[in-house]
Amino acid sequence: MPMASLSRWTMSYFAAALALLLAAEALAVAGIGYPAAGLGEPATLVLVHLVAVGWLSLAMAGALLQFVPVLVSRPLAFPSLALPALTALIAGLLLLTAGFATLGGWIDAPLDILPLGGASLLSGFALLGLMLVATLLTARPIALFTRFVLVGLACLAATALSGAAFSALLSGRGGWLGTIALLPEGLPFHALLGLGGWLGLIAFGVSYRLFVMFMMAPEPPARDVRPVLLLASLGLGLAFAGLAAPFAGIEPGASWVATALALLVLAGLLYGRGILALYSARRRKALEINMLASIPAFAALGLGLALLPVAVIARAGDGSIAALVFLLAFGWLGGLTLAQLVKIVSFVTWLETYASRLGRGPAPRVGDLVAMPRTGWWFLLYYAGVAFGTAALAIGATGGFRLSMAVCLAGTIGIAAELIRIRRLSQIKAADRPPAHERPRLFAARAEERRPDHVHTGTIAHPRA
């Protein structure tokens, strides 16, 4: 059936993701993690995983659960797994960060919670992958968009598996690996697969499809999109090979990482050119807040991708590389996610509230649910923090970085508050809101089973009942 319904737990994924972003930003303001601590130190690992797994991955997962069924016109497979997956992911992340805290000596807990966290994350991502892959494969033929998501999910599997292996090693339970040295050589590949493959490549694929819709732009030609997928897949395949190389007794060197990165950078630049073309060919001239607030994210992507190879070749040192990775994670992925959350949350809330009432009388538009221009100011604050934070990292100004993160935190709090106000229909005049018991709940959509009564099978050859 080409039907999509509201994903029941997407709002819970978003809420957890935002809470973990706020936690990560608060820790950074408190001076925990890089640059006060080293890149590989437990404090930095806590921060990195709160952002990558807690914030970006949960937000991505929630968005995929809602939009993969829409984009392939098929219902979500195994929807009852969404909540167990979320629970396993949050529990896994908390165990993992507690494990890092134990490594850092701040708390006294058995180190075994590290691999326990790794295993819990692995099972949560496995459930998520099962739902998404089963949904994607019911739609034939396999579209180009589907391939982006499938490659991204394969990268997620590699990232989660390698992460689980690292957590076993760090807890001193890596004996089964024998003399195979996965750490620290595997770390850059783990990061490339996670940020570049799971988060990056899927953001590429989904944005091509959604932006066409949001901006009324013509579909990008497949000849422009295919090279992006091809180059990125080559780079990610190389990263995966780098992760697996120690098992074959091969030691992947720095040039291995650099080649994989170069392929991803090329893919990213081609993608950026395609997005620029979508913006300029759009038929909807006035940009909505989600597309306006995505512009700095794409600027961050362009800047980060252009400078990262320069920094690597010039051996610019940890500071510059950390600054550019921060710019890509907070500026591009984080900014893009926050911007699109405004659209997704308002769209889903509108649909939940007004779909059954359409035609009865005037209904607000989706955009009416968003407080403008106030929401725009919060984004300005967030991106200002990202820009100053990038500069502070590049010059090694620890105090400046903490201050920048405070600005980021303020912007994020503002955006989170706006999202809550969207769910509460705060922008809609009280008289135009539905009765209280029919309003959207903050964390879970009122998903009801909706089936047409005249359809019993999936073929047109069957007569009406």
Binding site: L351, S356, L358, R360, P452
Partner: protein, 180 residues
Amino acid sequence: MSTPEPSPIRELDVRPMLRAGEEPFQAIMEAVGALQPGESLRLVAPFRPVPLFSVMANRGFAASDRALDGGDWEVVFSPVAGIEAEAGLATGSSPSAMSWGDPIEELDLVDLEPPEPMVRILEALEDLKPGDVLFALLAREPVFLFPELAKRQHEWAGNFDASGTAYRLLVRHGGGRAHK
């Protein structure tokens, strides 16, 4: 009814079925499915079965039609070389769509951003009477509209045009109304 002879043209007269109040769609689809490669289908109906043209076009058949005496129509669907058979109507489409009357309202919603097409279609349906048919042209498959149509007991049939750029949707008013 049908004359199951091994000839290059098979025939199907759906007039007796329609007189008896039966849905001929399945019989037509079975006849199409039973065609050998290269065979054509001659269909006789009491009206010009326009919705069937696109279904058959998507299956790789070209239609040539002519009016018969007494208001009946004859359509010969012949296979077009090189066109691959594709799915006709989107799954979930009402199989009775080919017997619906002409649309009394047509909406061009190609240039509207979601969910505006859904809003316009549901609003337009509120002004129609049960049995009325509405046609809408959209830029994409309206996946969030279908559950709402079902809840209001409207029937629909839709598919993409041959180029895959526009979605054609027929909705027949089923008597339901907006919630409360």
